[in-house]
Symmetry: C2
Subunit: 338 residues, 2 copies
C-alpha cells in the first residue's frame, strides 16, 4: 500500500508529525558536559550528537543502517537550453552509479552508507515549466511514494541526493514559487553555465514563475507546477523518514529545494529532523538555507549533487558519534574538572 494517497492526506501528515525527544537531547547534552574536554569545545560535533540523540530517542545514538537515496529524473525545460550537458547524461550517470564510478559511490563507501539509486521514468521528462505544468498531482504523489518506498525498513539515518540534467533550473523555479523573490537570486551556473547562460536561465525561470506564481499552500501543488520527479521523490523520502523519526542529512541546492516543498503553508517545522550538510556554491542555496533557517555544516565550495555533500558531512557525523559514545568521562579517566 502506498504511504501517501492525496494532497490533503499529505497536509494531514505534515500537521501531525512526531517531534524530537527533548529528554534524550538533555541526556546527550549532560553526557557531553561530563566528557574529558572543556565544555563545548567540540563545537558543532556536540550539536550533531545531540540532534541524533533527539531523533533516534537514545542518549547514545548510532548509525548502524545509514542509507543514501539518490533519485534521478529528466526535465522538459532542458529543451530551452538551460544546461551545458545533454539530457541523456542523466541516464548515463545512473549507469555510472550502478557501475560504482561516480563520486557518490566513493563517498558512500567512506561514510559507511548503503546507496540506493532510483531512476524515475527517465524516458518521460516532466513538462516544460516555462510552458505549462511539470506533472499532474497524481504523478507527484506517485513520485513521492517512490521516494518513501526507497527507504529501507532498518534505516536509522538518511542522506538524500539527486541526478537530473536541468534540475538546478527546476530547483530555482520551485524555490521562487515557494519563497518568492527575483529569479536572478535563485539562479546560478549549475553544472557550468557562463554569465550569459545564467542570465538566459533566469529568463526561463522568470517565464515559469509568470505562469505558475507563488504557491505556498500544498507541497503537491508546488511540485505539480514546478517539478521535478526526483525532487518529489526526495520530498517523499524526507517526509517518510520524519514519520519514523529518522534524522535526515540534506545535500545541496536541489535537495534543499525539494525538501522545502514540505514547508508549504509556512510549515517550517516539517524539516526539524533535517540538517543541511553543506553550503553549495550554487548561489541560490544560501538564500534557501536562510529561508529554511538552517546553517549548513560545512562549506567546501561543492556543487555536484548526487548526495555528495551530505555523504561528505556524514563523515563528520561519524566523528561526532565516535567522540560522544567513545570518550571517557572526567570521573572514568580520573581527570580533574575545571
Amino acid at each position: 500500500m502506498s504511504l501517501f494517497s492525496s494532497a490533503d492526506h499529505i497536509i494531514e501528515i505534515v500537521d501531525n508529525l512526531p517531534n524530537s525527544s527533548i529528554a534524550m537531547m538533555e541526556s546527550a547534552r549532560e553526557r557531553q558536559s561530563q566528557l574529558t574536554k572543556p565544555p563545548g569545545s567540540l563545537g558543532k560535533l556536540e550539536d550533531i550528537a545531540v540532534w541524533l540523540a533527539g531523533w533516534q530517542g537514545v542518549a547514545k545514538p548510532q548509525i548502524n543502517n545509514g542509507q543514501c537515496l539518490v533519485f534521478a529524473g529528466n526535465h522538459g525545460v532542458v529543451a530551452q537550453g538551460v544546461s551545458p550537458f545533454p539530457a541523456e547524461v542523466t541516464a548515463q550517470m545512473v549507469m555510472n552509479f550502478e557501475a560504482g564510478g561516480a563520486a557518490i559511490n566513493q563517498l558512500c563507501r567512506e561514510a559507511g552508507l548503503s546507496l540506493t539509486v532510483t531512476p524515475l521514468q527517465l524516458d518521460v521528462p516532466t513538462g516544460d515549466i516555462s510552458e505549462g505544468m511539470a506533472m499532474t498531482p497524481d504523478e507527484v504523489i506517485a513520485a513521492m511514494n517512490a521516494g518513501a518506498d526507497a527507504l529501507n525498513d532498518s534505516c536509522d539515518y538518511l542522506v538524500v541526493g539527486e541526478m537530473g540534467i536541468g534540475n538546478t533550473t527546476t530547483a530555482a523555479a520551485l524555490s521562487m514559487g515557494r519563497f518568492g523573490g527575483d529569479a536572478g537570486r535563485w539562479v546560478g551556473p549549475g553544472t557550468g553555465l557562463d554569465d550569459e547562460g545564467v542570465a538566459y536561465k533566469a529568463k526561463i525561470v522568470d517565464r515559469a514563475f509568470a505562469r505558475h506564481g507563488r504557491l505556498n499552500d500544498n507541497p503537491v501543488s508546488l511540485m505539480a507546477h514546478y517539478g521535478g520527479r526526483e525532487l518529489a521523490a526526495i520530498a517523499g523520502a524526507v517526509l517518510a523518514a520524519r514519520m519514523r523519526s529518522i534524522p535526515v542529512m540534506l545535500d545541496g541546492f536541489i535537495s534543499s529545494a525539494a525538501a522545502s516543498a514540505l514547508t508549504a503553508g509556512d510549515r517550517l517545522s516539517a524539516l526539524d529532523h533535517c540538517e543541511i550538510s553543506h553550503m553549495s556554491s550554487e548561489p541560490g542555496h544560501l538564500r534557501l538555507a536562510v529561508s529554511l533557517r538552517k546553517q549548513p555544516i560545512i562549506d567546501l565550495g561543492m556543487r555536484l549533487g548526487e548526495g555528495s555533500g551530505a555523504a561528505t558531512a556524514t563523515l563528520l557525523v561519524r566523528a561526532a558519534l565516535a567522540t560522544h559514545n567513545g570518550m571517557a568521562t572526567f570521573a572514568e579517566a580520573g581527570v580533574s574538572n575545571a
Copy 2:
C-alpha cells in the same frame, strides 16, 4: 643522531627546503577534469587531492601511514592563574590518551591515523614568560628534535596536536612575539575563562611581550623566549616532515602558533606543505590564519586541541582521495562531456 643541531642550522634548513611537485599537481588537476562530474564541482576536495599529489609526488596520492603526533608540556605561566584547569590535568590527560579515552583517540580511529603521544618533561614546566625566558636555546632544540624523532619512518601524512594546561597563553604570547599587534586580539577564553579572566590573561601576555618583544629572526630564539616545549616539538615535527616532503595538517590555534615560529624572518614558505584544518573558536586563530595566508578547511566552532580538528579534517582528506582515485572518467563510464 639528532636532526637539528643549532639555531643557525635550523635557519639553513628552512632556507633549503624541498618544494611541491608542480608536474604532479598538474597531473592531478588534469585527472580531476576527466572525472565524471562538472569541472570544479567537488570544490575544496579537489584542491586537497591536488595538494597531496604535489607533496607526495604522485598523481594519485594515498594515505597509507597517516600519523597523528600529540605533544604535551607544562607552562610556568600557569602560576599566574591563566587557566581554569590545574596544571596536573596535562599529565592526567596524557594518561587518558594512553588509556584511549580522549577525543583524539576516537577521532584517530575514525580517520585511520596512528596516534603517538609524547609527554615532554611534564614535571619541569617551562619558565614563566611573564617573568623571564621560557627555555634555553638548547632546550628548544632538544624539544624540536623530540618532535622530529616522533615521526615514523613510513609516515606519508602528518597531523599535529598538543595538550598543555596554559598553552593558549603561550600561543598568544608567541603569536604576538612573531607578528606583533595587541594582546587583546591574540588572547581568548582557552578552556573556558570568563570575560574577566580573558582580560587578566591579556595583561599577562602584555607583560610577557613587554619583556621579550618582537622576535622575527629565528625560530629557536622565538621559542626560547615564549615557549613552550610542546610547541617547539610541533615545530620540529612540522619541519622534519617538510624535509621529507610529507604533507601536514595543522590543528587549531596552538598548533598554528607553533608552526608559525618556523616562518621567523618572514619565511612564510616554510609552511607551504601545511594546511590549517579548522578555524578554532579561539579568537586569535583567525588572525593567525590570515597572518599565515591560509584558509582553514572547516569551521565547526571547535577549540579542544589534541589534534582533534586536524583529525576531523582528515576525514575530508579521505573523501578527497576516495573521489580522486576511485571515480571513473567520462571516457571510462561512457558519459557525455559538456
